[in-house]
Structure formats: structure tokens, C-alpha cells
């Protein structure tokens, strides 16, 4: 019986999705950097947080991002086998595959959390992923799940 009611955010035209991204320093961050160097266009809705390895992403980071107003979370890391720490992304793969299904089980739309292997050379794949994710989230609208009321 908390006094503040949950505010429903309509999808007005001016709304821009906010996507929080966790990029592994060795591959994906370098790929995103390369995209900038070669002047690739991609939507500016993404906010990239650099992390040592994709396995540094604690599911609590993902939940806190959604609580604090993110509409989508993108986690990117090296392709399995290329991990700078050899086994980091194997743990990420197990952990986030499972966590994604738990989020869907409690009502998150699957597209809200996207995990993608992006190597240092795949600037195009990075830009493509961002474009694709922004479209999907624009279609879905603002995230209501676990969102804190201001």
C-alpha cells in the first residue's frame, strides 16, 4: 500500500529509448571505437560502460539499469574462444542465457536484454546491432518493468 502509484509512461513521439551497454574492453569496446574511427553512423541512444570482461556483468547491474530508467540493456563481449581471459565469456554465456530466461519469465520482453559477441574488427556488426536494438525498443516503447518512480 505504498503511497506513490506506478506512473505509466505513454509512448509519445518525442520519446527516445535509453539503452545502457556493457562493452568488454578488449573486443567490443575496440569494435565500437573502430566504428567511430571509420565514421560509421549509429543511433546515439546507446550509453556504453567499459568493463574488463563481459563476465564482469553482474545480473544486479542489469536490474539496476532497468530500475534507474534504462529501456534496454546490451552486453557485448568477445566471441567464445577469443576471450582475453580465456574463459570469461563462457561464464557470461551460461549466466546471461539463464538470466535472460528468468527476466522473460517475470514479464520482460525478450528484446530488452540483448547479448552479442562483437570482436574488435566488427565495427559494422556493432553499428548494426545498435540500430537493430533501437528499432526494436522504439517499437516496444518505454520499459515499465521494475522502473523506479522519480
Amino acid at each position: 500500500m505504498s503511497v506513490e502509484e506506478n506512473v505509466v509512461l505513454e509512448k509519445d513521439a518525442a520519446w527516445e529509448p535509453r539503452i545502457v551497454a556493457f562493452f568488454c574492453n578488449w573486443c567490443s569496446y575496440a569494435g565500437a571505437d573502430l566504428a567511430g574511427v571509420i565514421r560509421l553512423k549509429y543511433p546515439a541512444n546507446i550509453r556504453i560502460i567499459r568493463i574488463p570482461c563481459s563476465s564482469r556483468v553482474n545480473p544486479q547491474f542489469i536490474l539496476r539499469a532497468f530500475q534507474r530508467g534504462a529501456d534496454g540493456v546490451l552486453v557485448a563481449g568477445c566471441h567464445p574462444g577469443d576471450c582475453h581471459y580465456v574463459t570469461g565469456n563462457y561464464f557470461t554465456r551460461r549466466r546471461l542465457t539463464l538470466f535472460k530466461r528468468l527476466l522473460e519469465f517475470v514479464g520482460f520482453e525478450p528484446e530488452r536484454l540483448k547479448v552479442r559477441w562483437i570482436s574488435a574488427a566488427e565495427a559494422g556488426r556493432f553499428a548494426e546491432t545498435v540500430k537493430e536494438m533501437v528499432e526494436e525498443i522504439k517499437y516496444l516503447g518505454p520499459n515499465q518493468r521494475v522502473r523506479e518512480i522519480k
Binding site: M1, S2, V3, E4, R68, K150
Partner: protein
């Protein structure tokens, strides 16, 4: 105070009429559990309610309540009290919970008065309802509370056959009845006697008799008794017994801040949690679980009595029913009486 009559089929229309002037908070059932919540339509109300899980204290002392907002942008400081309480009617309160409001009043309305609690208390009219059955864990009679008597309510309903006997107990109750006289009739003879008969049948249903006189003094010299350590062996140290207790009033104050803007919150707290009395220096006067459990029972059975001259327990039996490891306050009372000799 005089008493009126309310036909059973007129109860919901009466409550619906009240919704025009008041926010109606009533017992609602969800997954076979009872909660007191603001209702949109009277159809949601569970008539003849049993015992709720979370006590109606939650209406006067919510589990999470914003005290004030602040903004510390550019060196200025803006403080804005978040204090709002709509006029409300709290319907369906049993006699044990009515007594619990008196216990909470002794804490919150004592100087310096807690404005948040006081404002809600002033703006809420309470409609009590007599019990229709006794739960196995109930023992309110040990504290002189009768399952059919409505002290603490503004008007008190007792279901007798096809009608409700309405006792108007306070000035506010009188105004409420005056506001909607068309629902009420003058009292028919025999209704009061039927209520007394109900009281007799109910008093026979109490499974465990508990006597509590002289307990605070007896507890005084049992502080170091090994009984508390034995009792705490099975205790989980969770917050169930304190959060479902209608007279527990402990709270914590925390900040929720985003950038320059923030709110200061008051929220329920439990003396059984590990960090309840943890000092910043790391010293914790009640570091062991048995010390915390002992403090809970001493507060209920002695400290409340010593400090506010009103018993800390109202015998509602919620902690007995909901404790996962069956720590039963009635058994604790009986054991302490035995140890005291």
C-alpha cells in the same frame, strides 16, 4: 453512547455512501490472504473478515513513508514536507487491532507528537467489527479485550442474525451515523442480549488460557536466564513476528537520493535483524540472536508496560500463526511464569 441497527443488506450501500466523502480502506482478500487496502468498489470488500496477515497499523504507520523531499542544487537547500492524509474510513477492524491503535497512540502521540501518524489518526474514522470466530492462536481475553466489544472504534458493528448491532462510541461516530441516518434504524430489543450470547459462545472457543498479570515484574529478574538462549536456537532471525505485530512501532530512516534531488524515508525495522543496533564503530550491544529475541519479548511483555503503562501485546496471535519455527508468545508467557517462582 446509543446504539442503532443496520440491516445486513444495507451494509454495502452504507459503505458505498461513505466513499463519497472518504477514502474507504477495508479488508480485501487476495490468494486466500486478507489485507487492509483502499478499495475502488465495495464489491471487493470481504465481509465477515478473519484475521489479516499485515495488521491495519499499516494504514496509520505505513511500511514505507516519505518524510520530506530535498533539493541541494547549487548550494541552495529546499526542504518540502511530504505530509498528506485524505479523510478516510477504516472498516472491519477487530477488537484486538482496535486496542493496538491505543498502544501505538501511546508511542506516537506522546510529546513530541509524530505529525505523520497524528494526521492520519485524526482524519480516519474507524468502524470496528466483532469477531465471528476465534482462531486457534487468539488469546485477546488475556489482556481484557472482548471479541465483541469495540473500544477504540468510532462505531462498532456486531453481526447478530440478519442484522448488525451498531454501537456509536464517539462523537465522530455520531457524526458519521448522522450523515447517513437513512441506513440505520432504532435499536430493536433483544439484539443486545443476542450479542452477549455471542460473547459467551466465543469465550468458550479460546483453546489456550493465558494469564499475564505480574509478568513485567517477574521478567525483571529473568534477564540472564538461559531460557532465552534455548528459545533462540530455532529462531531464524527474520522479521515476520515484528512486521505482522500490530503494536510493533520500530522504524528506520533512510535516504533515497538521485543526483541533487532526494527523499528521506521512514520504513519498518525489526529488532531481530543483525544490524539493528550495530554501531558505526562495529560495536553491537545485541550482536547475538538470543539477545535480540529476548529484547523482542521484553519489549512486548515488559518494557511497553514499564514505559507507557499499557500492555505491549494485544493477543491477536499473528506472530504465533506465522512464525515458521513455532515460537509461541503464549508458551513464552507460560514458561516465564513457571521460571519466576
Amino acid at each position: 453512547m446509543d446504539s442503532k441497527l443496520l440491516r445486513r443488506e444495507k451494509l454495502l450501500p452504507f459503505l458505498d455512501r461513505l466513499r463519497e466523502g472518504f477514502l474507504l480502506v477495508a479488508p480485501v482478500e487476495e490468494d486466500a490472504l486478507l489485507f487492509y487496502r483502499p478499495v475502488e468498489s465495495v464489491a471487493e470488500i470481504r465481509l465477515n473478515p478473519g484475521r489479516s496477515v499485515v495488521p491495519p497499523k499499516e494504514w496509520f504507520f505505513p511500511q514505507a513513508e516519505s518524510l520530506y523531499r530535498y533539493n541541494t542544487e547549487s548550494g541552495r537547500l529546499v526542504l518540502e514536507e511530504t505530509l498528506a492524509a485524505a479523510p478516510a474510513v477504516l472498516f472491519g477492524i477487530h477488537p484486538c487491532d482496535l486496542r493496538s491503535f491505543a498502544v501505538l497512540d501511546a508511542v506516537f502521540l506522546q510529546e513530541p507528537v509524530d505529525r505523520y501518524y497524528a494526521l492520519r489518526r485524526e482524519r480516519t474514522v474507524i468502524i470496528g467489527i466483532s469477531c465471528s470466530a476465534v482462531c486457534p492462536e487468539c488469546f485477546c481475553t488475556a489482556y481484557g479485550i472482548s471479541p465483541v466489544e469495540g473500544t477504540g472504534a468510532d462505531i462498532h458493528l456486531s453481526e447478530v442474525g440478519a442484522v448488525y448491532m451498531v454501537e456509536v462510541l464517539t462523537r465522530r461516530g455520531k457524526e458519521l451515523v448522522a450523515r447517513c441516518q437513512e441506513f440505520f434504524e432504532d435499536n430493536v430489543a433483544g439484539v443486545a442480549e443476542a450479542k452477549e450470547a455471542r460473547k459467551e459462545t466465543l469465550s468458550g472457543q479460546f483453546t489456550v488460557q493465558v494469564t499475564v498479570d505480574g509478568l513485567p515484574a517477574r521478567l525483571g529478574h529473568l534477564f540472564d536466564h538461559p531460557y532465552w538462549e534455548e528459545l533462540s536456537r530455532r529462531c531464524l532471525g527474520c522479521g515476520i513476528c515484528t512486521y505482522v505485530c500490530p503494536t510493533c512501532h520500530c522504524f528506520d530512516i533512510t535516504d533515497v537520493c538521485r543526483g541533487f534531488e532526494g527523499k528521506r524515508f521512514r520504513c519498518w525495522d525489526a529488532c531481530l535483524f543483525r544490524d539493528y543496533t550495530l554501531h558505526t564503530s562495529g560495536h553491537n550491544p545485541r550482536h547475538a540472536l538470543y539477545q535480540r529475541l529476548r529484547n523482542r519479548f521484553f519489549h512486548k511483555l515488559k518494557y511497553n508496560h514499564d514505559r507507557y503503562a499499557i500492555e505491549g501485546c494485544v493477543g491477536c496471535g499473528r506472530c504465533v500463526a506465522l512464525c515458521p519455527v513455532n515460537i509461541d508468545i503464549r508458551e513464552v508467557i507460560a514458561t516465564v511464569r513457571g521460571l519466576g517462582e
